[in-house]
């Protein structure tokens, strides 16, 4: 592999995960905050809120995972090498 291609791939892989983590991070923070507010307002609904929260968190998490898949492709199955 070219040195320049290798270094560009490594930087791109890091950026892919890092940038992909920003949006879901904000989203998960919002969702968790709202869930905590919901539980504080209505403690008896805790079980339902927790289940829904975990499911939605998994959905947001998958956005970061897409970035991770891209970076794994760049690191381990690089198409330009």
């Amino acid at each position: 592999m070219d040195t320049i291609v290798a270094s560009a791939s490594v930087i791109a892989a890091a950026l892919a995960v890092g940038l992909a983590a920003i949006g879901p991070g904000i989203g998960q923070g919002n969702a968790s905050g709202q869930a905590v507010a919901g539980i504080a307002r209505q403690p008896e609904a805790e079980g339902k809120i927790r289940g829904t929260l975990l499911l939605t968190l998994a959905f947001m998490e998958s956005l970061t995972i897409y970035g991770l898949v891209i970076s794994l492709v760049l690191l381990f199955a690089n198409p330009f090498s």
Partner: protein
Amino acid sequence: MEMINALNVLNSFSLAEIEVGNHFYWEIGNLKIHGQVFLTSWFVIAILILASLAAIRNVQIQKAPSGIQNFMEFVLESLRDLARAQLGEKEYRPWLPFIGTLFLFIFVSNWSGALIPWKIIEIPNSELAAPTNDINTTVALALLTSIAYFYAGFSKKGLGYFANYIEPIPILLPIKILEDFTKPLSLSFRLFGNILADELVVAVLVFLVPLFVPLPLMALGLFTSAIQALVFATLAGAYIHEAIEGYDEEHE
């Protein structure tokens, strides 16, 4: 690849190998298949079949069920609740086997990858891991889901299924067609990425600190892999429901 291999040279712990993109190839005719995935999938399938057989061996109908029968009834009931929550009371029954099988296969695969010390067993060129950490497995499962929701739509509405694409307004047609491609793509990438990420994180941590430190992350891995199985099954149910229900019925 070379960087990780350089790390592996330093690594005397055989439990902490990091191998991505190396496969244990079997050649069948002109096909090259990933042998390690087959071995672990067969193992998972065997576990599921043996558990079902054990549960129906001494079925008690009169008395309250106990032991493994009790457990399997609990599993079945949770799966039924899952399918019913997505598909509704009237439609869920024919799709329960499909959604239930998806959930059980993915769940047992993910947990077998995390709980069974596969890395102890040496195979050439690769290592055994959860079947779902190979993209081919997850793509196959996602394509099955696509076929299932197309079949559901066609069997319910015939060619009227295509009316879904221009409802509520025809201008959404390109997006709806695009959705048919993004659904399997996102399903497969989500599952593959999550499982692979779990295993990589654990492997890297084991490589740095072999004892005790990786344990909390392994527990987190168990949790996320269970959630991912749930998400996959839930989404499969939601897609099938979307194909069965028309726009009008949904918004009555």
